[in-house]
Homo-oligomer: 228 residues x 2
């Protein structure tokens, strides 16, 4: 029973990763449909007895083999009634962040192709997917300023300059590095692993981990992560 | 053509107003359906060729006679597949803010009843609507701290204490009034109307207006409204 209308419901996933000092987004080419040879976001129709989040996880698994850590509802795209040439489709978009371990994709999936694209080299995408990605980037930019979600994009152990570089990449501008370091270390949400990494000719850099439980404790006291 | 599934798409509206120093929410009783004698949020099914925002505006007009100023997509509720006892319904919820002029409701609408309820006197609602309202309040609380959307809830001309009281009501706690006044007036986003209002035995209070164009100008320069 479908009330009064004939609308199909889909989900789309904007999966971000961070590699080569660039933000990367996961795209696929569908095996069939009106955009068969086009790049598009992973996604598909929601099943009748399937929760929205479950549908996103299933589609990502089927089309790219990826399992996501951080997943959040972004926006529901449905003001433009002809965004799909076949029929009226409203799509609930989710954005996800994965760490670099997930960068290697499974070869055999439901999609014809699945690949990571640096954000500054995006092709023309199917449907309104370029717009959806734009909305996701804006959300990510605004979110990392008050929630430390950036850590989901790094390896479990990282040197401080990687965190800095990530913030500069996402925000799209330089940051006051001294102030950033002072602020982040001051929060006490980074744990020193006791290990070091050597790179180039500089002295070895400390390897840190994000301290989730410490962050949760601060958060419950009304702590607000503010990075500009 | 409905792909692979049988899901109905609805919209719901959480309309807030501010009266008697309380936040009020607009509820209706449907004329038919499984929750005929229950209070519920205004809303209904989206038509095949109707944008989501248009559907919300139409349902609000039909069920309550209200036209809204500020309207924003809140969240799409669709993880719980049995939230409607009839069939699978996914609902895109929007929240709206209206000024006190809109408090008087039209008598003859598509709903059996339409009434404002103070937030602390909400009845048990149909579907998952109590949860939806909870999500909307959280969004409103967080939003008024960094965007001056609170002004949409006041009359065009207001005395400063009304703005203060509104913030305390929404945040649910006292604020540092001196600091609040200093901050808000410091932004330069209030314009003195040159008029005064007398209340009780105190001296007459200045009437202000929110200066939208000044705010937009500040906003475009990266200004961030921060009220705690």
């Amino acid at each position: 029973m479908n009330f009064e209308s004939n609308i199909s419901l889909a989900v789309d996933a904007i999966v971000f990763a961070y590699a080569n000092s660039k933000l990367q987004v996961l795209l696929i080419q569908p095996k069939s449909g009106p955009f068969q040879n086009n790049w598009a976001l992973p996604g598909g129709f929601v099943k009748t007895n399937e929760g929205l989040k479950d549908a996103v996880r299933r589609e990502l698994q089927e089309e790219t083999g990826i399992q996501v850590d951080y997943l959040e509802q972004l926006y529901t795209f449905g003001d433009q009634v002809d965004r799909d040439p076949r029929t009226r489709v409203v799509s609930v978009a989710y954005f996800a962040l994965v760490n670099p371990k997930k960068l290697v994709l499974k070869a055999d999936t439901d999609a014809a192709k699945a690949e990571w694209f640096p954000l500054d080299e995006l092709p023309q995408l199917a449907y309104d997917h370029n717009i959806i990605i734009k909305v996701a980037i804006d959300r990510l930019k605004s979110k990392i300023q008050y929630q430390p979600i950036g850590f989901d994009l790094l390896n479990k152990e990282f040197v401080f300059s990687e965190l800095e570089q990530l913030y500069m990449t996402i925000l799209g501008h330089d940051i006051d590095r001294r102030n950033f370091r002072k602020k982040v270390l001051g929060f006490g949400i980074l744990t020193e692993t006791g290990k070091f990494r050597s790179e180039g000719s500089g002295r070895p850099a400390k390897l840190y981990r994000f301290n989730v439980s410490k962050y949760r404790a601060l958060e419950s006291k009304g702590f607000h992560f503010e990075i500009k």
